[in-house]
Symmetry: C2
Subunit: 194 residues, 2 copies
């Protein structure tokens, strides 16, 4: 399983935003929606061995985590607006515990800490950021979770949380990319491995 956890520091955790204003009123939710696209979409196909976790830390009810499960997901299209609608629908149905809002889409009140605690026992955790080893030098097992931040860096507290769980810090080169582009690059690099 290939998993991507993306932290949205300002992304709204309640459905108080319009689908016309995903970049503004939804707290840069657009960044996370493009990450969902990069996690799953192939030409005329979806990656069934992938999962995306969007950790929403913006107003009004943080934390909320919306997860997309590639092997189950339906009604997922590549455009931002329709994926925004799936997230909005999940937030409308959010409550206690893990709730399925549509096929392959789940919402919970998990924090970044909770998500990492759940995923760490499953396999390797990798922190994607500037100043790590090149991706080509990373050994990857069959179950791997990549952790990324949105347009802001992880906070020192979030970094400390991660560094408690992993020493694998990977960089994609001298240039710093948007989170969704990082996911595309990682997926491609892993696709090329035997």
């Amino acid at each position: 399983m290939r998993r991507f956890v993306i932290v949205g520091h300002k992304a709204h955790s309640t459905a108080d935003f319009k689908l016309d204003d995903l970049a503004g009123g939804a707290g840069r939710l657009d960044v996370l929606l493009r990450c969902v696209n990069s996690t799953f979409f192939l030409s005329h196909n979806i990656r069934t061995d992938a999962e995306a976790y969007l950790v929403l830390l913006g107003p009004e009810a943080p934390p909320r985590t919306v997860r997309f499960i590639g092997s189950e997901v339906r009604y997922l299209n590549p455009d931002e607006r329709s994926t925004g609608a799936l997230v909005r629908n999940a937030l409308l149905k959010a409550g206690k515990g893990l709730i399925k809002s549509s096929p392959g889409v789940y919402v919970s009140d998990q924090s970044f800490h909770d998500v990492l605690e759940e995923l760490a026992p499953k396999g390797q955790i990798v922190y994607l950021r500037e100043n790590g080893i090149p991706l080509g030098e990373l050994k990857v097992g069959p179950d791997v979770t990549f952790v990324l931040s949105d347009h802001k860096d992880l906070t020192p507290e979030e970094e400390a949380e991660l560094e408690r769980l992993t020493k694998d810090v990977v960089s994609l080169g001298p240039i710093s990319y948007h989170a969704d582009h990082c996911i595309t690059i990682v997926n491609h690099e892993l696709d090329l491995r035997p």
Copy 2:
């Protein structure tokens, strides 16, 4: 200069679509808008040495080509909707010849043939598709234009047009990707070259 030409076979060539319906009523214009994002966006920066040419072949007035010039562009944001608004604005202002619709955005009645004829004298043309040489084996000069199709393959006539101008056919591996993901992968690969 790094240039990407993307052919939108159904993408509307007049501004008769709603920004709420870029994937539907605009003829999968969403695909091309994500290609603009992939061409230009870096973390907190824009690639000034890049250009994107969107060749719109859908109704009502094909062909139209909207070009984005990285060194001049303003008001470009990463989300689909705002880039869709720039394209829509360009189509509203389209007429004879090359018209500047906003800073760094131009619209013309150029066809795919016209665009290739204009760009071929400037440097290398590369066709990105399945069944080519690996990108890592491609020698790239300082001026290179990559040609991609949207969610449909190029037509035999478009392929013939391209193959008249270049023998450089490049593939990104065994898996077929969305056009915008291909651009991200190409940009990253070229970024890593000395």
